[in-house]
Amino acid sequence: MTCAEARQHWHLYHDSEGDVALHAEVAAHLADCPTCAEWFHLQSQLERQIAAHLATDRADPGLWARVLASAGAGPLPTRSGGRPGGRGALAVATFVASVGLLVWWFSPNRRDAVDTGLARATAGLHERVQSGREPFEFASTSDREVEEYFKGRVPFPVRCPPRADAGFFVRGAGVTDIDGQPAAYLRGRVGGTAVSVLVLPRAALDAFPAQRAALRQYGIVHAPAGAYATVLREFDQNAVVVVGAADPAALARVINAYGSYPEHE
């Protein structure tokens, strides 16, 4: 594949669209061509910034309570027989509060999320790997080599998050254990920040009932751990944690990208 051909397919590569063979060809070209790799990186960085600005918008805090009530899909205020400020108002207030709680819970910027055992364990591993205290088993910047490395070492498939989706550039990999369960970790960078991805069998969550309950309820869990932010989700038979001293929204993009493979959809 020539530089011109690779750049022609930039949109598909950036959006993780198109067929696997095309992605492999483009990735192979980028591995051999630092000029194109830099060009792709700059284009993707710009598109991510534009998309982030478009996705960020001021929200009207009372809007959804009004919309849902008017649409008949949410709690309606009582029309008669109730005292002003009675059950109807209470229902609306409860609903607004619960919507607010959800917005707060999913907000990547909230500072007071619950600290959790799994978040601490993952942050500890991340710090040990970064400082060199955890044996670093396999160094590579190739997604394909890293994915091959895990075959036979852990009893579940491990993939690198599509770099075009979240800007995660792998630097290496290793295998460890969390509470007696085998766990795979990817070491990499998002922008200039070190980020690790930990992949566990879903059964490993049995040792962390609070996180498991939060996942059941909310689907995604943000939790700070010391200087790091973590985000946790489940995909198929795995629990996946992304950790780093990065913007929680950037970590969420990495974990969502991890789940974008066809086998996870």
């Binding site: 011109a4 750049r7 022609q8 949109h11 598909l12 959006d15 669209e17 700059l42 284009q43 960085q45 710009l46 598109e47 910034q49 534009i50 998309a51 600005h53 478009l54 996705a55 960020t56 918008d57 929200a59 009207d60 809007l63 959804w64 009004r66 919309v67 849902l68 008017s70 649409a71 008949g72 899909a73 949410g74 919507v99 959800l102 917005v103 999913f106 689907g219 969502n256």
Partner: protein, 193 residues
């Protein structure tokens, strides 16, 4: 299905999408004042038809389809009332390909956040100048985080139209931002001379 159970299940699906639906509606509708009415009509229609939704299929694409149709109708009614035109979705070939080297101001590539932070309103303005289908594709991708095939499903267009529309939209937005960045640079240079 009992109404309360239906409402409960509907809200479970809807709540994680509310910010995205609101953001898409704000950037697509002709006026910010119209957003509550458009959202309400779209949500009411989706809730009415929720019995038809097959559990386990793609709820985000399903509900965004209702919102998109409601926005189209509202924008059409507004244009008719105001007798103003909007750039038409003229037939464009699906096989259109972007040029290899997109015209981009170097500052925009090297430090996009610097340009974007200072011209957020201009970005919104640039998006509003896009043809409706290009604007929809760009926003469904950026705000709704949909894949190409999901966008094609929501808009009821071929996937080729999504691909070419997204490529064109990106190019036009970049050209718009690059022009602003160039203008800002030249103003600064003149001011400093």
């Amino acid at each position: 299905m009992a109404k309360s159970a239906k409402a409960e299940r509907f809200l479970e699906h809807l709540q994680p999408l509310q910010r995205k639906l609101e953001g898409y509606c704000r950037r697509m509708s002709y006026s910010a004042d119209a957003v509550p009415d458009i959202l309400q009509s779209a949500v009411a229609s989706a809730f009415r038809d929720f019995d038809l939704y097959a559990e386990g299929t793609n709820f985000p694409a399903w509900v965004f389809g209702y919102l998109h149709r409601e926005i189209q109708n509202a924008n059409r009614r507004h244009r008719k009332h105001q007798q103003v035109g909007e750039p038409a979705d003229v037939a464009a070939p699906d096989h259109w390909s972007p040029p290899h080297e997109l015209p981009v101001h170097q500052l925009l590539l090297d430090a996009p956040e610097v340009v974007l932070d200072r011209c957020d309103a201009d970005l919104a303005g640039g998006v509003r100048l896009l043809r409706p289908v290009e604007r929809s594709v760009l926003l469904l991708h950026a705000v709704g985080e949909f894949k190409y095939r999901e966008i094609a499903e929501i808009l009821g267009v071929p996937i080729g139209t999504v691909m070419s529309g997204l490529a064109r939209a990106r190019q036009h937005v970049r050209e718009h931002l690059a022009a602003i960045a160039t203008e800002a640079d030249s103003t600064r240079t003149r001011g400093g001379a």
